[in-house]
Symmetry: C3
Subunit: 107 residues, 3 copies
């Protein structure tokens, strides 16, 4: 099975990214992670995206937030949707996933 | 030979992308694909880019459009330059090419 | 050891990129290269970034500029910070590094 990590660090790209992930899973069986850092972590608490994110989560998509970014934008883990996981450094995750064979897509 | 997939999903990035591809081929023998999704598919029917794209096409560059993006922007395949090929899902192409060893560049 | 190439071609992304590299090295031992092309090469002569870049350089980060981009923006190598190296084509570097196992991150 293919593995993919999507990287988002711009808030405005959230709709495009969510559409990309939906389109991917409509045509391919893949393990998908969405890694948000920078200001894009705000998307993980925005009600406008909850329905789409919930639907993708039910299809197995992992939503992951960078703790450095949360700290920089004064966001607490408790403010994020419950299914979002938090890791210490988003960029480390991007490296480790690529090292283990994930494709990288930056919408 | 090296293989490269360029990803573009922003219309404004078309000039930068075309310059990138031109510079690459001036210094390296490589198999190059340009994958456009999102609003960037509009660039595949913009007269301002036809000369540059034609020249790159003559050097073997493949220009590929995402059908999901064409549908979302109400663009028919017939409106695109004749040398552009259309695939069902751009993101699937990005994964498959990386899985088969292509480098990924997002201008 | 992991290897990472960061790609920047937008001037506004310099602060985000420098923060990304700092965060990476705080959590991971890695060989890091920052490749600037397009208008982002201007960041390599901007006094506002010199302290951060100096600190990262001291941690082993390589800062590399694309000569095509310098020429396009009428910047001489002598204007750049002394620790910046110049290569003929940034996109070729991006391909070669990925071919030799570098992870690619585009902030």
């Amino acid at each position: 099975m293919d593995h993919v990590i999507f990287h988002i660090d711009e808030k405005e790209k959230s709709p495009l990214l969510l559409g990309n992930v939906k389109n991917l899973l409509a045509d391919m069986t893949a393990e998908v992670e969405v890694l948000a850092n920078g200001v894009a972590v705000i998307g993980y608490k925005s009600e406008e995206f909850i329905n789409q994110m919930n639907s993708l989560k039910d299809q197995g998509v992992q939503f992951v937030a960078c703790r450095n970014a949360l700290n920089a934008h004064h966001i607490l883990k408790e403010e994020l949707f419950a299914f979002v996981s938090v890791i210490p450094a988003g960029v480390v995750e991007l490296v480790e996933k690529q090292s283990s064979g994930y494709a990288y897509i930056k919408p």
